[in-house]
Amino acid sequence: MARIPGVGETAEIAEKGLGGLEHNFLTAKLETLVNWSRARSLMPATFGLACCAIEMMATGGPHYDLARFGMEAFRASPRQADVMIVAGRVSQKMAPVLRQIYDQMMEPKWVISMGVCASTGGMFNNYALVQGVDQIVPVDVYAPGCPPGPETLLHAIVTLHKMIETDELVDRRRINGGGAGIVVEQRDGQTASKVVLTR
């Protein structure tokens, strides 16, 4: 197997593209810089659902100030957003919409599951709720609490920043086989809605 000094194995490069490159001065620095910029300018999509959305707003407010991280620019258009903060309970009716928004977001994108309802369904273990948003979209950080206070959300965000900066997430899709598709289990003749893509 041919090996180019300072660059890496040719087969690996052919297979993985840039991912197969050995870290040298140039690539390492560029990657660090890009990761730095991604972590420093993480624009959240406005995706408030329930109680947690109020706490998300409070986090953007004067006392906690999400703007310190350059995150005050909540993007209304998913095309420009980097992180989706799923703030609140996700109902069966909302699930296709949520997935659609996620699909409309541009790579690289991250998901924070805020609150127990989004993470596990919380106390509402019933017919109406999706029991954990990670059944629909791949979640990177879970923020516990019902609802998580602004401090908890900030901690989740800072955790995500660190993960982005230390490059933990770049290969996520390759490792866990891509984002989750919607799995609709039919019980007792119930169905959830189909994903209707509208453009």
């Binding site: 730095w36 420093r40 300018s41 703007a67 258009s77 453009r199």
Partner: protein, 414 residues
């Protein structure tokens, strides 16, 4: 006639009708080309860097006005926040909507960005106009501190500021979805209504300055008491400021991208680098239009030179920057304080207030000018103007009210 005046003033031959820069007197050599290149680079880089700083400035200032801290993690005092934004957007996935017009969709961001650069080329950014003619001497070459000084400078500014709106309009149209279309339609209406007010208030300046060249306009305002702000009597400046805010789509006139109403307006479907171009273009326009306002009404680089008289042109640059920052502050202030106009209120303000006001003021100014030239009784003329304008205003008001009554009576919206 204006061109003749310019030629006379600057003392160069009419063989160089467009670039009336003393630099080119006596032929163009390598040195001159180099100086022009340096000026181009400086203007370009300066604008880019100042855009970075202005975005940071806006975010910090707005944070300050709302009891927050603002960006402070990216770099010292969050200074690199914009850099991070730009870099991140550059490395983000790009998308062209399936239903969109691919060519126009790609073209649109450049249509907003490039005019912003081009406007800046005709703005004098420094020079001592009080004691000299605003030129500086570098390496034995005398030159203006502006990239170009075409005799039609102001028309060029008007043309380019209209071009920027085309970018927004086409962006919304080419996205092929509904919210951008709303933004696009709004942008068109806004441009049509406010361009007229902008132009009319500008004519007042042109009457006083007697020239279309930005250099001459600034030269005519040397010494603080000659600023067009005073001698055109405030009204044109206020109209110009409002119309400019509308042209820039800044709050309270940001209907085009009103996030709460039409999601992102024209840039809803844009992501990645193309979005950052819009972002860049918007703030660049803020700077260039501030610069235009400074040039037209606030004497450009004019200002006191307390010491270091030998480098008076540097003081000019300083004053110029201070005035620009003051305007940027005003724009942020607007954003932090004012609610957004509604579409029809925007139209009302443009057509029913700003255009009649600037038109009437222009007529009064012109009448007074004629009175001065012909040695008429200027007080009498002023009174006549006042009475006529008041009557016209009352008539207009009556017409507007009649129209409103008619509409409310159920004739429906036209």
């Amino acid at each position: 006639m204006i061109r003749d005046a310019v030629v006379q003033n600057t003392g160069i031959s009419s063989l160089l009708p467009l670039a009336v820069d003393p630099l080119f007197v006596g032929g163009v050599g390598l040195e001159e080309v180099l100086i022009v290149l340096v000026k181009v680079a400086v203007a370009f880089v300066l604008l880019l860097i100042s855009v970075m700083l202005i975005i940071w400035f806006e975010r910090k200032l707005h944070a300050d006005m709302t009891n927050r801290v603002g960006p402070n993690i990216a770099g010292p005092f969050g200074l690199f926040q914009t850099l991070a934004d730009g870099l991140k957007l550059t490395f983000k996935e790009d998308l062209i909507p399936e239903r969109g017009d691919r060519f126009v969709f790609r073209l649109a961001p450049y249509l907003t960005l490039i005019p912003a650069f081009l406007i800046f080329t005709v703005v004098p950014i420094g020079g001592d106009f009080d004691n000299a003619d605003g030129t500086v001497t570098w390496f034995g070459n005398t030159t203006n501190l502006q990239l170009a000084d075409p005799p039609i400078g102001i028309l060029f500014v008007l043309a380019m500021s209209s071009m920027a709106v085309y970018g927004i309009m086409l962006a919304g149209w080419s996205s092929g979805s509904k919210y951008p279309l709303f933004g696009s339609v709004r942008a068109t209406a806004q441009m049509v209504s406010y361009e007229a007010a902008l132009g009319l208030s500008l004519v007042a300046v042109l009457i006083k300055s007697g020239s279309l060249s930005t250099h001459d306009i600034v030269a005519g305002q040397a010494d603080g008491w000659n600023w067009n702000l005073w001698i055109t009597g405030f009204i044109p400046f206020i109209v110009f400021l409002i119309a400019t805010t509308a042209e820039l789509n800044r709050p309270p006139f940001d209907l085009v991208e009103a996030e709460q109403e039409i999601v992102g307006g024209f840039h809803t479907e844009y992501s990645s680098l193309r979005f950052s171009l819009f972002f860049l273009g918007e703030y660049m326009n803020v700077i260039t239009m501030s610069a235009v306002m400074v040039t037209l009404f606030f004497g450009g680089p004019d200002g006191p030179i307390p010491f270091f008289e030998s480098v008076g042109w540097l003081w000019g640059i300083l004053w110029f920057l201070v005035k620009i920052v003051a305007f940027c502050f005003t724009f942020v202030w607007f954003r932090a304080t004012l609610p957004r106009f509604r579409y029809d209120q925007l139209m009302d303000l443009g057509w029913k207030l700003l255009i009649p006001l600037s038109l009437g003021w222009l007529l009064a100014l012109a009448a007074l000018d004629v009175a001065r030239d012909k040695d008429w009784n200027r007080a009498l003329v002023a009174v006549i103007c006042f009475v006529v304008l008041l009557t016209m205003g009352a008539l207009l008001n009556a017409a507007i009210n009649a129209g409103k009554r008619k509409r409310l009576a159920g004739e429906g919206f036209d």
